[in-house]
């Protein structure tokens, strides 16, 4: 057999039938839903009286609209949010799927809890009507976001009709410098190759710097593959992958586990596998990153200068940069570092896991958030929150002046409930710096959790190094 990429292996092993003209009917192993877009998919099936083919393969959580303030329930700060929650709950029960409700120990952000529960496994196809489903590619699964109609299709038929994307290998070679994280890697990539750089491709991340990442960091890396325009991102499974999954609730057990480990051995790109495109990046060239504009592609080194739109060769990029500079109220050829901030947010499917909170906690320990800065930490799942509290991290955050929340997507986006104030500047560990994403005309700067923590302490955009070196 000719050498294959990891993606080819995952794809080919799920082809139910070839429909011609490059379209395959692909088997879908796991479907995850949430109240924002899953509710409408379940409702769509019910309206047409279509049964689910395999309810046991379908999971649903409440993460997007639910409040994250202590003592929360079905009532939400977002007008009408309660209907989403209650409709989802009712539909989920009618459909007979596994439902993680508000207050359940398993509840949390879909892409945090799916791995926690070992619902995602290497070699599986996983979909969710949520663009950040690519996060779960970190486990060597073919995991990708779809629309609500496609989620209905997968629930009703067990399959999706898909055109095979091209393959792109992105190799981060060598070692990352001290203090550089997976978030910086992905922002560097998107900054260099644009928010459409991965358009039409399924990305495999590899190289020594990727192998060296722990599972949570690999999730951060894959999470923003969609921000690169890619169909999905993935990392070949290794010992870290199986060590992470073993013993978790939905992981195979006993002889099944042994068999799974054996099957997963083959889940890597063959040595001479042919990728449609390859990109190699020297990991040593990456430094802590931050976005300056309103697209994740508008990213720069934290210690660099805001680019000058006039110097951009592409007229569309130039025009987009001009709009972004005006929206963000920043000036070309000046540093971002030192710019006063109003808000700091640590959370989201990108950076809300225990390791993220620990690293941010290292910076916050014994320090105080600057006056006038609203700082919020939202653990990615109820389990992350419990674990963090067990090791006293919640106190580190609250002593510093951070709000400590219940788990959910929270202020990663503004759905009509909570938001930062008009035109406020926020440093955020999330994935999207789009216009008004975190509130009307809010100016969002994407960065790692440690950069968010450092900026919260300093009251301006700052690197962790600045905090550690300074007297604060």
């Amino acid at each position: 057999m000719s050498p294959q990429t990891l993606f080819d292996k995952l794809w080919d092993s799920h082809v139910v039938s070839s429909l011609g003209d490059g379209v395959d009917l692909l088997y879908i192993d796991r479907i995850f839903l949430h109240e924002r877009t899953g509710s409408i998919a379940l409702k769509g099936l019910q309206e047409k009286k279509r049964p689910l083919r395999h309810p046991e393969n379908v999971f649903c959580t409440i993460d997007h609209i639910v409040d994250t303030l202590p003592g929360r329930g079905d009532e939400t700060l977002m007008t009408g949010g309660k209907d989403f929650i209650q409709s989802t709950r009712a539909s989920a029960r009618d459909a007979g799927i596994t439902f993680f409700d508000i207050g359940d120990t398993e509840q949390g952000i879909v892409h945090v809890i799916s791995p926690e529960q070992a619902i995602v496994l290497p070699g599986l196809t996983v979909i969710c009507p949520d663009s950040h489903t690519c996060t779960q590619g970190a486990f060597g699964a073919l995991a990708f976001g779809v629309g609500s109609t496609e989620a209905e299709h997968a629930m009703a038929t067990g399959c999706l009709r898909l055109e095979k994307p091209k393959t792109l290998q992105i190799s981060f070679e060598g070692q990352l410098s001290e203090g550089v994280t997976a978030k910086d890697m992905i922002l560097y990539l998107i900054g260099k190759y644009s928010a459409a750089g991965g358009s039409g491709y399924s990305v495999e991340f590899c190289g020594d710097a990727v192998s060296a990442l722990d599972m949570e960091a690999r999730m951060t890396l894959c999470n923003m593959a969609v921000e690169f325009g890619a169909f999905t991102g993935m990392v070949a499974p290794d010992e870290k992958t199986s060590a992470y999954l073993e013993g978790r609730p939905y992981a195979p057990k006993g002889a099944d586990w042994t068999r799974a480990l054996c099957d997963w051995q083959d889940l890597e790109s063959d040595e001479k596998a042919n990728f449609d495109k390859k990109i190699a990046i020297d990991a040593a060239n990456i430094s802590p990153m931050i976005t300056w504009g309103t697209s994740p592609g508008q990213a720069m080194a934290l210690d660099g200068l805001v680019p000058d739109s006039v110097k951009m060769s592409d007229p569309h990029a130039q025009q987009a940069a001009e709009k972004a500079l005006a929206y963000m109220n920043i000036h070309p050829d000046r540093p971002l570092s030192g710019l006063a901030i109003d808000g700091a947010f640590i959370g989201s499917c990108t950076n809300s896991r225990l390791s993220d909170l620990r690293r941010a906690g290292e910076i916050l320990k014994g320090r105080k958030v600057a006056e006038g800065v609203r700082a919020i930490c939202v653990p990615g799942s109820s389990a992350v929150k419990r674990q963090a509290e067990a090791e006293g991290l919640d106190r580190v955050f609250t002593d510093a002046g951070f709000e400590w929340r219940e788990s959910g997507c929270s202020m990663c986006f503004y759905a009509g409930g909570e938001s930062f104030g008009l035109e406020q500047r926020v440093v955020t560990s999330t994935n999207r710096n789009f216009e008004s994403r975190q509130g009307p005309r809010v100016r969002s700067h994407l960065a790692s959790p440690e950069t968010v923590a450092a900026s919260a302490i300093m009251g301006h955009i700052a690197s962790p190094k600045e905090v550690k070196d300074g007297a604060l």
Partner: protein, 211 residues
């Protein structure tokens, strides 16, 4: 869904790159568990003067009377990137759009379009610029013609551009198929796949949870 064959309609140029689905419909405009009632929220952040109100911002092109009744949107690379929210497509359709022309699209958005009768057309940036320039001269007169059967975008005074679309998507749009019904006809193949699947570890039906 409504079949798409051929339209002659007003085009409106929104020549920005990376128009994300948060811009197409902000999350705050997705107020109900529903596929309808979303047209008003289309481009809300750009279309209205402030977040809570509905006073049109005259600087936004959709509020320009010359483009009233536009059914074709012309835009830049990576249109529909970002969130998977199908509400972006439902909002565009409800507003009256039938086709979007862009050099590239967000992948999830592209599939959401074809599943809802909205035709996404990939054309080279310079071709879109040419069409946009011609349309802008006199939007109501210089109407674009989109012929899905022949895969051509044209206007009486501009050259015709051929566009590519996969046969599956073309078929689905031309006939207004509900793909679930089409796929369910392959029941035997799906069952056969399940029966020969040897990944016993992947089967949740027989798995008991570790408590």
């Amino acid at each position: 869904m409504e079949p798409f064959k051929k339209i002659t309609a007003v085009g409106v140029p929104l020549l920005r790159i990376n128009v994300d689905t948060d811009c197409i419909i902000p999350s705050r405009e997705m107020k109900k568990v529903s596929k309808v009632g979303l047209g008003e929220g289309l481009f809300a952040g750009w279309r209205y003067k402030d977040t809570s109100g509905r006073e049109p911002d005259p600087d936004f092109i959709l509020n320009d009377d010359r483009y009233s009744d536009a059914q074709i949107l012309l835009s830049g690379v990576n249109f529909g990137c970002g969130s998977s929210r199908e509400h972006a497509v439902w909002a565009l359709v409800e507003y009256g759009f039938k086709a979007i022309l862009a050099p590239s699209f967000g992948g999830i958005f592209y599939n959401n379009c074809t599943r809802n009768g909205l035709l996404p057309i990939i054309l080279a940036e310079e071709d879109i610029a040419l069409l946009a320039g011609w349309v802008a001269e006199n939007p109501q007169e210089n109407r674009l013609v989109i012929d899905l059967v022949r895969q051509i975008v044209s206007g009486p005074e501009v050259v015709a551009f051929h566009f590519d679309i996969s046969p599956q998507d073309k078929d689905m749009l031309l006939n207004g198929f509900d793909m679930i019904d089409v796929t369910l006809q392959r029941e035997n193949e799906i069952t056969a796949f399940e029966q020969q699947d040897r990944r016993i570890w992947a089967n949740l039906g027989e798995t008991q949870l570790i408590s």
